[in-house]
Amino acid sequence: MTDQPLLELVDVGFSHERTRALGGVSLTVAPGEVVAVTGPSGCGKSTLVMLAAGVLRADEGQVRIAGQDVGSLDDAARARLRRRRVGLVLQYGQLVPDLPVLDNVALPLLLEGVRPATARARAAEWLTRVGADLTGEEWPGELSGGQAQQAAAARALVAGPSVLLADEPTASLDARAGSALLDVLLSSTLEVGGAVVVVSHDNVVAARADREVRLRGGRVAHSVQLS
């Protein structure tokens, strides 16, 4: 474990066309840390995740993943950095609709050139670890919201990310299944020295974090240590 932050947002701003979604947001996440990002609807939580993942480019400020300035990379390099260092779980799973579930989960490994049989075997292991009752042969359109979230979690974890970004990762699951999935997301990332940023409007999920960063109107309203 090093002292270098795994994720840094420095004075980041972003606008969706003419609507300012985030402004002056700074956030540093160290290895082994779990940060909950909370706040009312429309406060910029999901935008922050997309910026932190390098999916969106910040209009202002800098985003660094494992020390690399995301803004200085071209699209291909950003995608590579994302595949290798970032696990992303979004609210509705966002699986690729024309791939079976197993290939969806295996995708980060397949794109990195891992042999298909190996990638699929690891994907199947992760589906089991996240508690998904799936064979992997299903199509995304056949899954319930909760199953899609479990599959997305498996996909996010399959490559052993340094930074796990999870946007409402348990919203479609009941309390017990959600808690179990959160256990896997946190423990699997932390045991490889990674860090987790979890966006949630659920206070019980937020309470699992070491620190809460609360957004309001696209800005950090407060940041408090919980552990």
Partner: protein, 179 residues
């Protein structure tokens, strides 16, 4: 820690004196307006509390007001009283199911007086989240009854937090560009 229902009554009186001196009747009326769905404050309690606040140097008599009946004594907050009020608001309410009333009192007092509302909400939120975190870290015993008691407490804390979010939305904003 178990809260008695009126443990914070002196501090609430101090909050009611912020901004302008008041006589007892005025203060009672204002209190009942702040908490419209709770038991009205008995006059006897108001005068007894004001006397204690005066004795302790937290409030002072600044005059009398003539009305239809007898003259009314007007009280004002002292610097020491304001200090005591701020100290009360700086301390989060206990994160227990029975602490809910105290949270309501503190939040309403913070909103009416405008004393560090954001800071109060942030501290109270952190206090509650830490308590939920503690409860999650120490699973209850295996019996369903123990689990139910734990879930009841977590649900209460969660309800407090959700209610506090509304308070945060009502707080005066001075945060620059919010668009």
């Amino acid at each position: 820690m178990v809260h008695t229902p009126c443990v914070s009554l002196p501090e609430l009186h101090l909050a009611l004196l912020v901004g302008e001196p008041r006589h007892g009747y005025d203060l009672k009326r204002e209190h009942d307006a702040w908490f419209p769905d709770t038991r009205p404050l008995p006059f006897g309690q108001v005068y007894a509390t004001l006397a204690r606040l005066q004795r302790d140097g937290l409030a002072e008599v600044v005059g009398t007001q003539a009305g239809n009946g007898p003259e009314r004594t007007v009280y004002a907050l002292t610097a020491q009283g304001e200090q005591r009020l701020r100290a009360w608001l700086a301390e989060p309410a206990e994160a227990t199911a029975s602490g809910a009333e105290e949270i309501v009192r503190k939040t309403v007092a913070a909103l009416h007086t405008g004393i560090d509302v954001d800071g109060f909400v942030a501290r109270q939120r952190a206090h509650h989240l830490r308590r939920i975190r503690e409860l999650q870290a120490h699973p209850p015993g295996s019996s369903p009854a123990e689990r139910l008691v734990r879930e009841h407490l977590v649900a209460h804390l969660d309800a407090d937090l959700r209610w506090l979010e509304h308070a945060a939305e009502l707080a005066p904003t001075d945060r620059g560009d919010q668009s």
